[in-house]
Symmetry: C2
Subunit: 448 residues, 2 copies
């Protein structure tokens, strides 16, 4: 794994992280014992045995002998500001939950301040649970961009597109214009990138989707969309148009490697072919789909057909957390059920969903998603010494089936340490708690 030309002794570097294990996610065999990752100017420049680190002179050397070092998690679908609605309305069907709880609450509360505080609470939770890149789809994305930037976390913003107005935009064209403006502001930004987030086939017209497609082609950006989340929406589409949503999107030319279909709990063989042939990605959100009883995406079957499947938590209002280590475990467990096959989505494949597959879905795999020289140092350290993780026969299996968010001790994005042994470096958790309580008081008191 070392670079071809051995570096000169005492090459000066910013950071060396020595770890009990380095799980690179470059191949199932690449679980390297007692290895170190060398970081300079935010990038990984070498991976070598801990015993050989003295060929570098590092400004900082961090030792985590009982830990596994992994690429940070890529949460490929969420609505970060919705953390402020966490637990507001549970144990309800999707359309009841949306129509009678979430949409009225959004109408009452969503403004830039709500998004600022909600996104910050989400970022605290994500850093604490090992997410280094989050893919967001919510109103006022320019605010979420500011919050992500000031907290040094990597973020993909999918700017909403809807046929109906919201506090953020008036019309489909207005949504798109605002999205393009935000895209242009963040071209070449080291951490923030912008793509288009048409909400769902049932909320965006063909005309608006055509402009989404043209815009995505022109700017070479992604398209991120809820598709086939429930059987109900597919039935409605069939009633109205005679074709299923994926077929409609295909007819409109939207399916391509830039397209991310989120949820896909309902899927036919024809739809699988359309997705596979187009190179589109699927984002699986198992806990949200279970909680809303929407069904489950047949991950193993999609993978067999060569479709890249990433993983997302969805918003905290329907999950109710942003915990990727719990999500990937759930993904592995339910894949076995759906496929009637206990070998489906084994531990390593589940970890891929949450790392390299997410990076691929977002078109960021050259930069993140695995531990590899040249990539950005987006890393997490997981302490494997807790009683719940003993004995330790296989670190990958232990992380997937036994570890919890609380075992994640350190988080780095582009070489910057955001959490150090469970302490956040840039965010005051007390402030987060105070503003969360203030929103709680307002929202709980309001009758909508």
């Amino acid at each position: 794994m070392s670079t071809n030309i051995p570096p000169q002794p005492s090459t000066e570097v910013d950071l060396i992280i020595c770890s009990g294990w380095v799980i690179t996610m470059e191949s199932p065999d690449a679980v390297l014992e007692d290895h170190a990752v060398v970081i300079h100017q935010g990038r990984i420049i070498d991976i070598l045995p801990c015993a050989h680190i003295n060929q570098y002179k590092a400004k900082e050397t961090i030792h985590r002998p009982e830990h596994a070092l992994l690429p940070g998690f890529v949460n490929a679908h969420g609505h970060s500001a919705m953390t402020l609605f966490r637990g507001l309305a549970d144990d309800l069907a999707l359309m009841d939950w949306l129509n009678h709880h979430i949409w009225p609450a959004e109408k009452s509360w969503v403004d830039p301040e709500f998004v600022e505080h909600g996104a910050e609470l989400a970022i605290v939770e994500m850093i604490r649970s090992g997410t280094t890149t989050f893919c967001d789809q919510y109103f006022f994305p320019e605010t979420t961009a500011l919050v992500a930037e000031r907290n040094h976390i990597r973020c993909r913003l999918n700017t909403p597109v809807l046929d109906f107005p919201s506090a953020w935009a008036e019309s489909a064209d207005d949504y798109l214009d605002k999205g393009i403006s935000l895209f242009k502001q963040h071209e070449n930004h080291p951490l923030i990138s912008v793509s288009l987030g048409p909400h769902a086939p049932y909320t965006v017209s063909d005309k608006a989707l055509e402009r989404v497609m043209e815009t995505a082609k022109k700017y070479q950006c992604g398209i991120h969309m809820h598709v086939n989340e429930t059987a109900h929406e597919v039935e409605e589409a069939l009633k109205q148009s005679g074709i299923r949503p994926i077929e409609r999107l295909n007819n409109l030319g939207l399916l391509s490697p830039q397209f991310q279909a989120v949820h896909m709990t309902q899927i036919t063989d024809i739809e699988i072919s359309l997705l596979a042939n187009s190179g589109a990605h699927v984002v699986h959100c198992p806990e949200s789909n279970l909680k809303l009883a929407s069904g489950l995406c047949p991950v193993h079957q999609l993978q067999e057909e060569g479709i890249n499947v990433a993983l997302g938590t969805d918003g905290a209002a329907s999950n109710n957390d942003l915990d990727m280590i719990s999500e990937l475990r759930t993904a592995s467990l339910v894949a076995k059920l759906v496929d009637h096959n206990p070998t489906a989505l084994p531990a390593y494949e589940a970890l891929k969903l949450a790392t390299i597959n997410g990076a691929k879905a977002l078109g960021l795999a050259d930069d993140i998603g695995s531990i590899c020289t040249g990539k950005s140092a987006d890393l997490i350290s997981i302490d494997l010494s807790a009683p719940e993780l003993q004995p330790l026969y296989n670190p990958v299996s232990q992380i997937v089936f036994s570890a919890g968010r609380e075992n994640i001790t350190d988080t780095w994005v582009a070489g910057k340490q955001l959490m150090n042994q469970r302490q956040l470096n840039f965010i005051n958790e007390n402030d987060t708690f105070t503003f969360a309580k203030s929103w709680q008081a307002k929202i709980a008191a309001f009758k909508y």
Copy 2:
């Protein structure tokens, strides 16, 4: 909730726990804000507002203002010593896992020392994750009894019964004789109780089951058995006998309120009637069933028919943890999927599975399973102030859908505090780590 006769001012008591919320599990409405539980001689003697605690003079008063106080979890099915096999063999089918991994490993390693160390590791994990009663089924139960006793945790031991020999016993009669002897040793023990644990219909003959039934009747003890864990075992039973296992158990007279059927992932309407009419209990182990792709118990349907459903983690070799808060969340999420109904097994019902329903299944509901004057003070405190639990609209929902084992700060059994703000009082975690590592080295090196 207060006792009818107000106690005299300054009544001397052992302990008062003041809590932000007391979730009694006596009814969905009984979520009491700023309440205290008063404990004397191991029992709950009063529940009253924190503002009124000065009518008692307590040896110790503990304040947990940001926390919820709940009855401790009842883990209604497990094999505690198998923690030493955690992560040894994952992503495999049940019979492959048993035949080629677990049974050979058990043959090589299971002896009293293995059981002692494995049970102690399990108990550390269980105390840290809020389990105050565990229901065990494993070889050398007399050793598990000693380990449970010295660590002050409540334990139901289901002594194995099998047709084939093991390191612990020679024959079905030998297993039963040893079980009866252990039962007699623990009659009237405050924490340890003993019942019979015939392994499964496919490993115990009619003759042995008849003696199990007679013994259970004579001693008024429970019968705890794996039943209908997989479709395969039901098909085999049908081939061999023409009837399904539950029908066979019913014909033998085993079904009664003393009977706990563990797993039940395969179930017909007739079997549901047989269980409901007999008053037998079902123990649901969703994470183990998912991981082995065994199927899922239709919890909501069983509850509709009046069957009491409890919750178990199963052993750490097939889960891979003993974390009841994760298990009850999984139970709620998958119940919604199985029932195609997002209102199935809502948060409060899921908490019941892990508390009062477990107590009922074990015949211990007079003593444990809810916070009620007269019951034993088996309690846990859950810190609801973590960022992952903000905002907080509904404590029950937040515990089920957002909290993790790491939020459990304190555990009491019969009024004795086993964990105080995440520190164990009676077990040295370093010792546990050292012996787990020693077993890991031996077991990992062995080729079976």
